[in-house]
Subunit: 356 residues, 2 copies
DNA sequence: CTGTTAGCGCCTTCAG
DNA sequence: CTGAAGGCGCTAACAG
């Protein structure tokens, strides 16, 4: 049996309360007493039973997730994952809530952060950042109020956020460039880039990585000027249609933002152009299956949500975060390794949920 | 506050013990009483606090993992993951142990399964299966003794095992074939396949998928007869050296087993041949970085271990398993999306470990 | 068949 | 500064 607080109390010749004080380094223990207890802890190799501790504490961690509104499928998937995790977060004594704000709207995001921080029982905030000074300021305010903040999917390092939960987007861009280069091989023709907006950090980073990888390819290839589709399917569709008309020898398209529904529509079944896109959604999955899209780079929204919650809890408790464990991978999907579509809604298993 | 057993006892007008009986559907409750309790449960939307339940039960789940011995890096990584998970499994009230048996040795594996099943406190067994009747029989015996068994990495469906934890190897082979075809493009030359042994199911499955994908490529391409390296670096090295000498126009190699150290050594820095291998290990990672290997298909050993433990616990408790949640993905790695090498040993975070 | 009682391992008043 | 006692939500004897 593992040693318990009783064992260490006995061995140290003190009471349970004192052990507890040392364990949670609370004040009110003489240095000698503390030393005795710590010796006992070390000698017995005691490790605290977190489950029991949480039970006794009865503490809960209300975490607020702030995500962009709108029909961006990835963000809606992210929101679904948050709600899903929330339904199963009872065991982790965590209560998740979602707040949506207009996309790319720095003022609204800043206001939402302030509102969440103002609520007395917010234990932490996770937000998809927009790269703007107001947002950075709001994050800084929340942190000064003692509320941990993590950025999600898109970072804002200047804000001093506690942690960023998301992929290395420069590496993601490089991956896309490398795959594009290999898939095209010696085939001639320029490639195009469709972005959402150069105002969000993750899109800029992806572009940077992509251009670097294309430049490093053995075969030089022209990359056309970036098209900005505002992550909007209609705009994207128009832009791509124009592109196709103007560039008959187009070899590839790298879509580094959302709005892929419009891209796919504009391509209308053509599979002769090498297309690489981001985020596995209903749109991109279907296009992958029909061969319109050749590869999808994905960040696992479920992992991101769970990681954000874990990190926020750790920060709230002043515990360290294991960086290696919280790294979000860049998943590559092609038609052949596409996971079966998970049935939405109730994939629950009554208390069995644990996170993988 | 969430409703507790007290609330439902009060609302149903019964005692805690009765509520508990209904909750864990134990015998000794009249149908009417049971109905009252169930009504209260439903009305209050009660969900049991698993942590508290486990605390009260004090039950532990000793699980035995049986893996092949030898220098196969993937298996050693798997073993490391088991030990790592074991160090953090206290919270889940699970105790993991590892037993190694000679690779490809059906008799030894069967004996190890019997031994684990004989131990009175084994709550479940996870084994990397060898495709042989003795093994199937041993698994069947364990299950008859009431001990749940899952196969890990390599399946043995005929054994009647409770569950298989691993990837769809036919799909993995198809993925490899598809990537090989796309990477080679129009480049001429045959491709070779290096396997460990056609006696293990996962290798056969991968080959099947690979051949199917190659056959489906627009460009027909010769696939040379399979080389069996026994997952042994020395044997593999010899075979590949011979292959290179005999086939000057070789375009690609699909290595679907282990022993990749030998493969890489035989290639001695050549990066003109398209090489696709399985499992991200020190060998394959290094070769990916130098360009000797072009892509690695990986199954996340950490996920597999955690999934196996979850499934075994669920089976031991007679709970359902959420198939979608336990599916292991086929990860694709190229140089650009390689995750940073995780420092081995203590990546622990004192009680924070949760599984992603 | 049902209820009472005493913990599981830890935390938290409240006295001393 | 330290200890005793009670409770978190659930389960498990042991009585009735």
């Amino acid at each position: 049996m593992r040693p318990t607080v009783h064992d260490i109390a006995e061995r140290a010749g003190v009471s349970l309360a004192t052990v507890d004080r040392v364990l949670n380094d609370r004040p009110g223990v003489r240095a000698v007493t503390r030393a005795k207890v710590e010796a006992a802890i070390a000698a017995l190799g005691y490790v605290r039973d977190v489950a029991a501790a949480n039970l006794a504490k009865g503490r809960v961690y209300p975490l607020v997730f702030i995500v962009p509104a709108g029909e961006n499928p990835f963000m809606r998937g992210l929101e679904a994952e948050i709600r899903h995790a929330g339904r199963h977060s009872a065991a982790e004594r965590t209560r998740l809530s979602v707040v949506t704000v207009p996309a790319f709207d720095a003022a609204a995001l800043a206001a939402a952060i302030d509102a969440a921080a103002a609520s007395d029982d917010t234990a932490g905030i996770a937000a998809v950042a927009v790269d703007a000074p107001e947002v950075a300021a709001a994050i800084a305010r929340a942190r000064e109020a003692g509320i941990p903040v993590v950025t999600l999917v898109s970072d804002l390092a200047a804000s001093g956020r506690d942690h960023f939960v998301g992929v290395d987007n420069v590496a993601a861009g490089r991956t896309a460039g490398s795959l594009m280069g290999r898939f095209l091989g010696g085939r001639p023709g320029p490639v195009a880039v469709l972005a959402g907006s150069m105002r969000v950090r993750d899109h800029r980073d992806r572009l940077e990585g992509f251009l670097a990888a294309m430049a490093a390819m053995p075969v030089a290839r022209q990359v056309l000027p970036v098209l900005e589709g505002q992550d909007d399917p209609a705009v994207s569709r128009r832009l791509i249609a124009g592109l196709l008309a103007a560039t008959p020898d187009l070899a590839g398209i790298y879509s580094l933002g959302a709005g892929n529904g419009g891209l796919v529509a504009a391509l209308s079944g053509r599979s002769d152009i090498c297309v690489i896109a981001h985020e596995l959604t209903a749109d991109t999955r279907a296009a992958l299956e029909t061969g319109v899209i050749d590869a999808v780079l994905n960040q696992d929204a479920g992992h991101e949500v769970r990681s954000a919650a874990r990190v926020l809890r750790a920060k709230a408790d002043g515990l360290p975060v294991v960086a290696a464990q919280e790294r979000i991978r860049i998943d590559i999907f092609i038609r052949e390794n596409l996971p079966p579509a998970a049935e939405e809604d109730e994939r629950s298993g009554a208390g069995l949920y644990q996170g993988d």
